[in-house]
Subunit: 222 residues, 2 copies
DNA sequence: CGGGTACTTGACAATGGTCAAGTGTGGTGG
DNA sequence: CCACCACACTTGACCATTGTCAAGTACCCG
């Protein structure tokens, strides 16, 4: 099972054994806090099953989701290499099984095997790319653009014009850097213009051209 | 000189030699493009002297600065480990001397020496932390908050209430995710309320308490 | 001294957030 | 099995923040 985690791909058997011996297996119910911003990090986490959101909170309680973590993905690695404290919060949004990997054992391993270091570099680079895109969208695009980009992303994932949201609309709003009211209004307008159709959490793309134009920053009036 | 670059700190002499043999020394005038978003990466860069901005552009030409690069810092490493293409643009804002490090030689070295891998992990982690803070500010705070946080950061850097901007106000606006007009107005209001004084690019903190409250998301009316 | 760039200021428009009051809807306990 | 409750979502009226457009001033560099 540990061998299926991308981060540990390519590791020699004896090192996989060491990984297995180091980790602690934990189970969380939906809605539980896994780690909190500012907390000293004793290690990092790998999600085996379930779903986790990584997010920031404003002083007034508004939430910005940075990204979601799915099975096989790790989170909370940043303080292993700099700072020592978590830069954001992590909370389960489904019942989840999580492996905890203590700091010292991991740093030993990463010093010993360049494969693990390269895997980690690949993971952090991917994350940096995601964050760059998020900054771009928040700063340079309006909410309809961000929503259009997200719908197109979902559509490309399952290669279909029918896309199902696997998160609540409230969470989608938080991921897009807005609030449920605004998202609801924009979905309503897109629906009225027959760009998409909306049935609960089921969306259908009706006019891909307009979505693509919007995602690129187009000023189509919705 | 190469030994002074944080990324290469702790490397054995023979490996430093290899670094020196691999790099290409380049000089750029102010305002020149070093790399462009989407371009295939043949290697990455280390700034020796001068200053570089890393930024994204919207389709309408608005710019969001992600961060600045100072002497001794590297940039353009992300595609070494994932994707193969640069996620953003880099342009000199001063005459700069830049080392270019080709991909293959670097990957060889990083596989051979865990020190280099750890240095790179530290660098990417630091960057990820920066980006997380940028997302937080863009999404959860208003422009006066971001400006206050930036002024306090500058003040903590040189441990003084007198801070000098080392960039133009236009660039500061782009870094804060706004436009020069808005920045100008907010500086004007802060000045009128005697929170700071503004003389060209020289700022002086007059009321630190209010700045700190603003930076934390406070709703002080300016 | 001249020209371009950086910066400022004003009037206006629009995006999106706030507050308030609904309308479903699914899951749980009686 | 159904009623009810909590929660997700929607809709409306309003307003704050910030961006746009336009014009003008200051300032630095050659």
């Amino acid at each position: 099972m540990v061998a299926d985690i991308p981060l540990f791909k390519g590791l020699a058997k004896e090192q996989l054994d060491e990984v297995v011996n180091s980790i602690a297996d934990q189970t969380f119910d939906r809605g539980q806090t896994v780690l909190s911003e500012g907390e000293a990090a004793e290690g990092f986490f790998v999600l085996v099953q379930g779903k986790v959101k990584i997010f920031k909170l404003s002083t007034e309680g508004k939430e910005q989701i940075l990204h979601f973590v799915g099975p096989g993905e790790s989170f909370g690695e940043v303080p292993m290499f700099s700072g020592g404290r978590f830069p954001a919060n992590a909370e389960t949004i489904e019942k989840s099984r999580i492996f905890f990997f203590p700091r010292a054992a991991f740093l030993d391993l990463i010093g010993a095997d360049p494969t693990l270091a390269m895997n980690m570099l690949a993971e952090l680079s991917k994350r940096l790319r995601q964050m760059t895109r998020l900054v771009e969208e928040l700063s340079l695009k309006e909410v309809p653009s961000r929503l259009a980009a997200y719908i197109l992303y979902l559509s490309s994932e399952n290669e279909s014009d029918d896309v199902g949201l696997d998160i609540t609309k409230g969470q989608l709003a938080s991921l897009l850097g807005t609030i449920p009211e605004t998202l609801s209004r924009i979905l309503g307008k897109m629906s009225a213009q027959e760009v998409i159709s909306v049935q609960g959490r089921k969306l259908k793309i009706l006019d891909r051209t307009i979505l693509e134009d919007l995602a690129a920053g187009g000023k189509f009036v919705i």
